[in-house]
């Protein structure tokens, strides 16, 4: 059974149709990269998956159940910018994800619980290469380091779905390569299903196990907003990685 199933989803703002008749079925553990021209609905689709917006028509199922219509802890997200909290240290940015769900009244843990949360956060931060910057504030980090922090922050929640909206768009090429390696490592380690919007085609081809191309099939020159984008190509990629993941899954089940 498919993990995420998108059924005939339409999204439009006023008379501007952005997405039309979107159908998609994604298995758990896939790494989907979303590419396409600017303004053809990739980020809209990501916002729908996130629950930030609700589709006008159609429905999205997560594990057979309708998707919650607001963001929650089951779906992690990393934006291109503004993903981390400027007023918290690196360590607290990640520990926050452990504190919020456990303390409904103050959103903050004390004593032993706090120390444990911070230890757990520190372990994850070491893994993404931020072990030396635990006490810094995000503004003191480079762009790449901030995105590492944002990824760690999303992963501490152990979400089943990770949504990435051009996460490396503002980074220079060398750093971007490091981030790709980090992301693939983390993806291999976890059962994560990833959706990543990117403008960089090679990034899309290199990282994904599945490339989804968004494009408008129909265009009315007199009414540019009349038709929306669909998924025009759905290309399986990096079959070795996909096979490795499948083998790993079957081993775990046996």
């Amino acid at each position: 059974m498919s993990f995420i199933s998108v059924q005939n989803v339409w999204q439009q703002y006023d008379d501007q149709v952005v997405l039309e008749g979107l159908n998609l079925s994604v298995a758990e553990g896939e790494f989907c990269t979303l590419v396409g021209a600017s303004g053809c609905g990739k980020s809209t689709f990501l916002r729908l998956l996130l629950g930030q917006e609700v589709p006008n028509k159609g429905k999205i199922l997560l594990d057979g159940k309708a998707l919650a219509s607001e963001p929650d802890a089951s779906r992690g997200v990393v934006f291109q910018r503004y993903s981390v909290f400027p007023h918290l240290s690196v360590l607290d940015n990640v520990a926050l994800g452990l504190e919020l769900p456990r303390s409904a009244l103050l959103g903050r843990l004390f004593g032993n619980a706090k120390r444990e949360a911070r230890e757990q956060a520190a372990v994850l931060l070491n893994k993404v290469g931020l072990g030396h910057s635990l006490d810094k504030y995000p503004t003191q980090l480079s762009g790449g380091m901030q995105q590492r922090l944002a990824i760690a922050q999303a992963l501490i929640m152990k979400p089943r779905v990770l949504l990435l909206d051009e996460p490396f768009g503002a980074l220079d090429p060398g750093i971007r390569k490091d981030m790709h390696a980090l992301l693939l490592d983390l993806w291999r380690e976890t059962q994560l299903t990833v959706f990543m919007v990117t403008h960089d085609l090679s990034e899309g081809f290199n990282l994904g196990t599945r490339l989804l191309v968004f494009d408008k099939v129909r265009i009315d020159p007199h009414a540019p907003g009349a038709y929306g984008a669909r998924i025009t190509y759905d290309i399986p990629l990096n079959s070795d990685r996909r096979a490795a993941r499948a083998a790993l899954d079957s081993l775990q089940q046996a």
Partner: protein, 271 residues
């Protein structure tokens, strides 16, 4: 070299800082000296000695009638009113600003209301305050509260709206409820803005305080100034004005230092 590219070095900067103040003092004291040589009883521009005498009398000698040290008593009363007024306003402004800036259901009714209320000239409703709250402490504090709360609330509302929506979404994916989101994300990010907003309204707060004290009070810095005006006692008024200015400047500086110390992550604090 173009004017825009010329910068003072350390020494000349210090000199440039002192220059306007010393010019001001020089102009005053030459004026004062000229008038006093013509007429030793002139009260308009008292000399430094006369003002020192007045300060000595007000600050370091007990008043013969009440046994109080008037300057300190006045300062205490005024600062207490100011502190209570600013404290209440800050709290109210913060709550209103967050509610109308972050929660759309609260913002819809609150935002236009705050806009309209902030247009009411506070001094115009001072008589209403006296009628409703009497001539005691309450009406003076209320004038400050009514005068600056809408300004604080509107500023914080604006700042709350400027917090990137990405951060609000991110907090929700980290398991925040509306309440904990406000507590752990919105509030800490708005506190430094609140301190800056307070610095900006300090001037208005003093204005409302002195206006209220001038009209109905039995002590306070504003009361004293308006009281001794009857005797043309410029030797008291001028030191009082300097003292008020100093207090206001110290509060401004203190708030700035506090912002920098308490919120090291906040970049706007380096202004």
């Amino acid at each position: 070299m173009r004017l825009i590219n010329r910068r003072p070095d350390r020494a000349s900067r210090l000199l440039l800082v002192i220059l306007p103040f010393s010019l001001l003092l020089f102009a005053y004291f030459t004026g004062s000296a000229t008038r006093l040589t013509e007429n030793p009883n002139d009260k308009l521009l008292p000399s430094a000695v006369q003002m020192a005498d007045a300060v000595n009398r007000m600050a370091f000698k007990a008043d013969t009638r009440t046994g109080e040290y008037l300057l300190w008593q006045d300062t205490g009363s005024s600062l207490r009113r100011l502190a209570i007024g600013l404290g209440i306003s800050a709290l109210l402004g913060l709550c209103l600003g967050i509610a109308s800036g972050i929660l759309p259901l609260f913002g819809a009714p609150l935002s236009p209301l705050l806009t309209v209320l902030s247009m009411v000239p506070p001094l115009a409703i001072l008589p209403i305050l006296f009628i409703v709250f009497g001539l005691g402490e309450l009406s003076k504090v209320m004038l400050i509260v009514i005068g600056i709360t809408p300004i604080l609330a509107r500023d914080l509302e604006q700042r709350a709206r400027e917090i990137p929506v990405e951060l609000l979404i991110k907090a929700q994916t980290l398991g925040a409820s509306t309440w904990t989101l406000i507590l752990r994300v919105i509030l800490p990010q708005l506190l430094p803005r609140l301190l800056i907003a307070l610095r900006l309204v300090l001037g208005s707060a003093w204005l409302f305080l002195i206006a209220a004290e001038a009209i109905a009070s039995t002590d306070g810095l504003g009361y004293r100034i308006f009281l001794v005006r009857r005797y043309l006692a410029m030797d008291v008024i001028l030191p009082y004005v300097v003292w008020i200015t100093l207090l206001a400047w110290l509060m401004d500086w203190g708030l700035k230092a506090l912002t920098r110390k308490a919120f090291p992550w906040y970049e706007g604090a380096r202004g």
